[in-house]
Amino acid sequence: MTEDRLDKLLHKTLKREEPAPADVDRVLKRLAGRLPRQRFALWRLPNVLLDWQFAPAWPRVAALACCAALGFFIGIAGVDRHLSRSGYIAGGGGLGTIVFEPDPLTGARP
């Protein structure tokens, strides 16, 4: 058999035929269920960090500015001092006022 004849016969015999739609549907149905977990490679992590968007998001910047302004006005108005005064504990004479008083030694035994 010559090379050309074999080539022609191979082309004819192995001609590309799409499978029947019913066969394709059967496989699609088998794939329709819940998919397994995807596998992530650890070496992709640096790429994730490199792709991270560090540009500021304006709502977050506005929220941060509001918090800073609120803190500034609380500090100026001294609201925090009033709060701390109201909770002040009297009788604070320092460490010297703390006396260690053990039970007196009477010699008596229980």
Partner: protein
């Protein structure tokens, strides 16, 4: 395959890599028929081909985050299908030949099988008997119309190795069919 299709495949794969299920379903619907046909031609068995096509499409989903567009998506998917087919062929070698029964005709319907003439039937059987890699090289070349370079990329070998596979495959076919076909002509 058109470049636009390939670009669209790349876009879909980028979405699949982020876990986008509808994109995966679209990609599956697009490529499953061709991959099922290829597996059927390599394995010569419809049931095994369905298993291989299903497994290949699941691998697309699970490996998508790791995938890098170094080659066309279609080439990568074809490589998965071919490797799965070769694995299956390797495992099938251990099956008792008597228990395995006759080689199944890869033609999908009885009507189409009836249309095949005797020579084509003989050639189909002879191709089924070829070693797995020779058979795969012949199917990819004559059925998928791939160049030797493309076949080499899929089989992860050199172009000269593919040429050798094709030459040896055709020699084997000629040895088996030569007399029969020459008589007919």
């Amino acid at each position: 395959m058109h470049e636009s299709d390939d670009a669209s495949d790349l876009a879909l794969m980028a979405r699949v890599a982020r876990g986008d299920e509808p994109a995966y379903r679209q990609l599956t619907r697009r490529h499953l028929p061709a991959m099922l046909g290829l597996a059927r031609r390599i394995l010569g068995n419809a049931a095994d081909a369905e298993d291989v096509a299903q497994e290949a499409m699941l691998r697309v989903w699970t490996h998508a985050p790791r995938w890098q567009p170094l080659a066309a998506f279609r080439t990568w998917l074809t490589r998965i299908v071919v490797n799965l087919c070769l694995d299956r062929k390797r495992r099938a070698r251990w099956v008792d030949l008597e228990a395995a029964g006759d080689i199944v005709d890869p033609a999908p319907t009885a009507g189409e099988a009836a249309e095949q003439d005797e020579r084509e039937k003989l050639l189909t059987a002879a191709i089924a008997d070829l070693p797995a890699r020779q058979r795969t090289a012949i199917v990819l070349t004559y059925s998928e119309g791939m160049s030797n370079a493309q076949v080499a990329e899929i089989l992860e070998t050199t172009v000269s190795a593919v040429e050798t596979l094709l030459i040896r495959g055709k020699q084997n076919l000629r040895q088996r069919l030569g007399d029969v076909i020459d008589k007919d002509d």
